[in-house]
Amino acid sequence: MKIAPLILCLALLAGLFLPQPSLATLGEGADSVTKDRHALSAAKRASTSHAKYTVQEIASDATTVREYLDLSGVVFAVAWNGMVHPDLTTILGSYAGEFKDAKRKMPRQHGLKRSKVQSSRVIVETWGHMGNLQGRAYLPALLPEGVSADEIN
């Protein structure tokens, strides 16, 4: 009875001090949502089911992230809003490299409070202003049939 809480404490402490692994979300299974939660030091808040997908919402102090899972449990989209953008390297996982390449090639335009970066497999859009930054990243090829990108927000 006394050992169990001790192990729990040790496990929590270990979790706190372990270097955070490079996590992936888009295109991965549902377990990456749990990993994301750790990486974002966020708490799961709600899960809502639709005909073709499930949305899991996780909230940190700064930002609320919604992860879209198809019926087989693969994350095909992530949307967010909050004080700061979430770490896109975490969100994009194995797609982070092609996103960065595509972003680098885009000419900088001043005066915009939005951006849309499109690589061969992933689309990342951001919008907003100080205090409410919004965005979404999704894999068009993995959108469940009959689901429009408009539903990701």
Partner: protein, 488 residues
């Protein structure tokens, strides 16, 4: 009196001559120290308004090649008489009359070349008026290439409690943010103290909606808006080389040219740049730095970078943006004004009561484009250079893909709704073909729009031909109510 002054000056000057000799140690026995070779005065060409002041600096060059500030040891002379008075330290004060004066500094037989200072008529518009130029004289060419609808203001920043000031142009007027942020490069000559944070010093990362960011220390400065009294407050000094940038801040803009401005004046409807969130939790805006290491920090409301208007003694409840209307074909430049305060002076009291839209704690209200089934988040933003909204209008092909290119100029209506659910206010606007508009030589356009996935961003075109009031949260504006609100 004059001879006593001269005597005092000689006594004050003595250490200048004697000390370097003592320190150098290499001179032959009894050889004199470096002597003053020449004097120069800066700034060379400057102007002040009647009643205003300007600090001049006299720099001495010595025979050993060294230079130093000798403003306090110089005898200052201006001609003609009766236009300005110059203190012993080089502070020029207008005596009232307008005109140009020639000013020299002298020590002994060494006299500086003359500099010109012009006293212009004081603004009759009032101390609470700031000029706004859209792609005009207050914008820098170096940061404005391919940047249309760019509203610029000028802000004077001083060392706290000192008359050492710099006036910085090319400050982007931004109702979509809160706080004054200025590139380090524009603050040369100032010596500002970094704000403390726990056992370290405070720094900040601002992430923007286009994925860019700025980074740098939070410092205490004396800020003067228009001819309002200068007020001490925290500002962000933009400096990508400061300490080690936190990973979450990405790759912050290092130069004004990269950012597209020399600074940002955030005068939206909130009083601080973060609010209660940052007071309680580490959200990723504020950092405490010790040496080069910066870690997330909480910052109380009073120590956050404030909307500078909220710190004014009287005109602190909001602003009014006034821009003239612009023809559908555009204009090369536009001159308007930013009035500080709402209903606190004769000049900022609306003659006809505007419609007030309450905003939420993000400074947002709601908007529905005619024909759309649901409303979206919405905000008024002079820092966005077009109207960005979800629509079936075709985006331009090619480089202008961020803007709409309807085949012909199109009139649209959207309904703005207060964050509290009322009032509802239809607003008409016009979207032209951006490819066609940008092909002209104009820089200012009232009918440029672009796509948005998330909400309705009423950028600078919305402000053209309107008087737009922005009320700061927690403050009351006579007849308009308590902020946050927008009204027009």
């Amino acid at each position: 009196m004059k001879s006593i002054n001269l005597l005092i000056r000689i006594i004050l000057l003595l250490p200048l001559v004697i000390l370097p000799a003592g320190c150098g140690g290499g001179g032959g026995g009894g050889a004199p120290g470096p002597s003053l070779v020449s004097l120069s005065v800066t700034p060379v060409n400057t102007s002040i308004t009647a009643g205003g002041t300007q600090q001049l600096t006299a720099t001495g060059t010595f025979s050993d090649g060294t230079t130093r500030d000798v403003s306090s040891q110089s005898t200052w002379t201006s001609s003609p008489a009766g236009v300005v008075r110059i203190s012993n330290t080089g502070l020029v004060s207008s005596l009232g009359p307008t005109g140009s004066v020639s000013i020299t500094a002298a020590i002994g037989t060494v006299t500086s070349p003359p500099v010109t200072l012009t006293v212009t008529a004081g603004s009759t518009a009032g101390a609470n008026v700031m000029a706004v130029t859209v792609n005009g004289s207050l914008c820098s060419d170096a940061t404005s290439a391919n940047y249309f609808n760019k509203p610029c203001v000028s802000v004077t920043i001083c060392n706290p409690g000192s008359s050492t000031c710099v006036t910085v142009n090319d400050i982007l007027l931004d109702t979509g943010s809160y706080g004054l942020r200025v590139f380090n490069q524009a603050l040369t000559g100032l010596n500002l103290t970094q704000a403390p944070s726990g056992t370290g010093s405070l720094a900040e990362c601002i992430q923007f909606a286009d994925g860019s960011s700025i980074w740098g220390p939070v410092k205490l400065a004396s800020v003067q808006l228009g001819n309002e009294p200068a007020v001490q407050m925290p500002i962000q000094v933009i400096d990508a080389s400061f300490a080690t940038t936190p990973t979450s801040c990405g790759q912050p803009d290092a130069t004004p040219a990269a950012a597209g401005y020399t600074g940002v004046l955030g005068v939206g409807p909130l009083a601080q740049d973060c609010g209660p969130n940052c007071a309680n939790t580490r959200v990723g805006l504020y950092f405490s730095c010790t040496g080069a290491v910066c870690t997330g920090a909480t910052v109380g409301l009073a120590d956050q970078v404030p909307n500078p208007v909220a710190r004014l003694p009287v005109d602190k409840n909001g602003v009014q943006v006034r821009l003239p209307s612009v023809a559908l074909t555009g204009a090369p430049t536009l001159v308007g004004s930013l009035l500080l305060g709402i209903g606190t002076q004769t000049n900022n009291t609306p003659a006809v009561a505007p419609t007030v839209l309450p905003a939420n704690q993000q400074g947002e209200f709601r908007a529905t484009l005619s024909g759309a089934t649901s409303s979206v988040n919405s905000f008024l933003d002079t820092g966005s250079n077009a109207l960005f909204f979800p629509s079936s209008l075709p985006p331009c092909t090619g480089a202008n893909f961020n803007f709409y290119c309807p085949p012909s100029t199109t009139s649209l209506t959207a309904t703005m709704v207060g964050a509290t659910g009322s009032p509802s206010l239809p607003v008409q606007f016009t979207i032209g073909n951006a490819n066609g508009l940008f092909a002209s030589n104009n820089n200012v356009f009232s009918d440029v729009g672009g796509p948005s996935t998330f909400g309705f961003d009423w950028g600078l075109p919305f402000f053209m031909g309107r008087n737009v009031f922005i009320g700061i949260n927690g403050t009351v504006s006579p007849n308009l109510g308590t902020g946050p609100f927008v009204a027009f």
